[in-house]
Amino acid sequence: MVERRTGIAVLAHVVMILGALIVAFPIYMAFVASTHAPQDIMQSPMPLWPGSNLWASYSAALTGSSGGGTPVARMIWVSFVITAIITVGKISISLLSAFAVVYFRFPLRQLCFWLIFITLMLPVEVRIGPTYQVVADLGMINTYAGLSVPLIASATATFLFRQFFLTVPDELVEAARVDGAGPMRFFKDILVPLSVTSIAALFVIQFIYGWNQYLWPLIAATSQDMYPIVVGIKQIIGTGESVSEWNVVMATAVLAMLPPAIVVVLMQKWFVKGLVDTEK
């Protein structure tokens, strides 16, 4: 029995390590490439160990001094602002709409819920034409609002909060009523604190979602200094005759990966709890 268990443990670890390697290797290669001079990367085979050009590549990327145009520092800032607006906006709007759908009896309540739910099936890409028209007509092209607001409405988050609210015992609502808490007071004092773990999980998911937006910023941002970093990477890669400085491109990619990675690492505990925890 003990032997069999060790066998399974070894097998599990082999599979796990293989999987991790497959995922990690390209990231490692990006990092390695960012530490070499441009001409070293073009050699065949490509070097597998970090080189000595780390400082030069990253400072070139951050300041944009290598002729690529916008500094990465600026792009990270743009990304960060957009992502923050999207994440906070999505969570607050979803919390409120789920609250309305679950706790209030108003005409066409069920219809409202289904309308929200149906939009789940319509990703940004499908409505990108009309959305662009609206944003352009409102003069929001190349603004933080234009880049983030159209991405805020979220059926997924509303649905998740609705499901969570449905598990909150009725007695708790009644106890709050007896205690004299009005609806918004109940929402603020009881419902939101109870949803903290769900909010944390959604924060992680939505942060990554916002950070990784590509298509919408690509059309809604036309000026270089409003490019978020994910779009910026593409712009740094030279087209046609100009030579790509791959070390700078890779440094930019590594920098782009860092913020979501930090968010995931810092919030991992909450993230797992929010998705798994059913105890209230």
Binding site: E171, A175, V178, D179
Partner: protein, 345 residues
């Protein structure tokens, strides 16, 4: 402190032809400071009635007043009541102190008074060492006490209890029962207590309301309810084992049900002849289950008569014939068609 008055209170769900009426006009006058227990089987409407007093259910018809003030259209928080829920309904993210203080905080009571009131309640309920804990870190009995503490600090006119003991184990339940009694003696606040447990009802109540199918069957002291049940339902619901309700007692008139509690049947040399079917040992006493020895009326003569005897008394052999005599002053009569008590036969 306040009296409570229920005037022809009706609850129905839905409207028009599909309306489903679940409370059929309850009338009751509850005096200031009384401890009233509402008891009945599940689905009899006892919780609904309590929730209507609390303001958590709308009153379809009739009128409820607390302390002379009609509360039909008032929010629960404006009715000057406090409620203890079956599952305690403590706010899981708040400490014991915050749980108890929440209602006061909303009512804008100054912080030092909140603290004084919570500390006092915590002292009464022996919760002082746990004030900084979250409900998750408390045992069932402690959570129950926090729920009561939350009710006490509000200093309400009326306490409402919705089966607060049903989630406790037997020992804790008996203990908490005594605590609730003590609390009521000390605070003297009018209380409505819903339970399905007749022992709880008998021990706690100053007066009790027995409900069945949305109708108030009887409203009286535990003694009255036990010794003079108003209907066959009350007679069979209160008391364990239940009262014998006999259609075929030897000297019965047609259309009259004879009721006699098992402890009021004495084994005598002559009297009602019964055939012993089973004997149960309960510790301090034994229950003898008997059937009529000679079928009196052919139709439904198959009635079981339960007799309660002392543990030390002689045990009759199974299958033997036993003679019992009911104590004359303990015989009850009920109308066989309405089930209502008949005081003159």
């Amino acid at each position: 402190m306040a009296s409570i008055e229920l005037k022809n209170v009706i609850k129905r769900y839905g409207s028009g032809k599909t309306a489903n009426q679940v409370i059929h006009g309850v009338n009751a006058q509850i005096k200031d400071g009384e401890f009233i227990v509402i008891v009945g089987p599940s689905g009899c409407g006892k919780s609904t009635l309590l929730r209507m007093v609390a303001g958590l259910e709308e009153i379809s018809d009739g009128q409820i007043s607390i302390g002379g003030r009609v509360v039909n259209d008032l929010e629960p928080s404006d009715r000057d009541i406090a409620m203890v829920f079956q599952n305690y309904a403590l706010y899981p993210h708040m400490t014991v102190f915050e749980n108890m203080a929440y209602g006061l905080k909303i009512a804008n009571v100054p912080m030092d008074e909140i603290k004084a009131r919570v500390d006092k309640a915590a002292k009464i309920l022996e919760l002082a060492p746990y004030l900084e804990r979250k409900p998750k870190a408390l045992s069932g009995g402690q959570r129950q006490r926090v729920a009561m503490g939350r009710a006490i600090v509000r200093q309400p006119q009326v306490f409402l209890f919705d089966e607060p003991l049903s989630n406790l184990d037997a020992k804790l339940r008996a203990q908490t029962r005594l605590e609730i009694q003590k609390l009521h003696r000390e605070l003297g606040i009018t209380s409505l207590f819903v339970t399905h447990d007749q022992v709880e009802a008998m021990t706690l109540a100053q007066r009790m309301i027995v409900m069945n199918g949305g109708v108030m069957e009887q409203f009286g002291t535990p003694e009255e309810v036990y010794t003079r049940p108003a209907s066959t339902f009350v007679a069979s619901f209160i008391g364990s084992p239940p009262m014998n309700l006999l259609k075929n007692a030897p000297d019965a008139q047609p259309g009259v049900i004879t009721g006699i509690r098992p402890e009021h049947l004495d084994i005598t040399p002559t009297g009602w002849a019964l055939q012993v079917e089973a004997v149960e040992m309960l510790g301090a006493e034994r229950l003898i289950y008997g059937k009529w020895a000679h079928k009196l009326h052919a139709a439904d003569a198959d009635e079981t008569v339960i007799i309660r005897i002392e543990e030390s008394a002689a045990v009759p052999a199974l299958g033997s014939t036993l003679h019992v005599t009911p104590r004359a002053d303990r015989i009850h009569h009920f109308n066989a068609s309405t089930g209502k008590r008949m005081d003159t036969v």
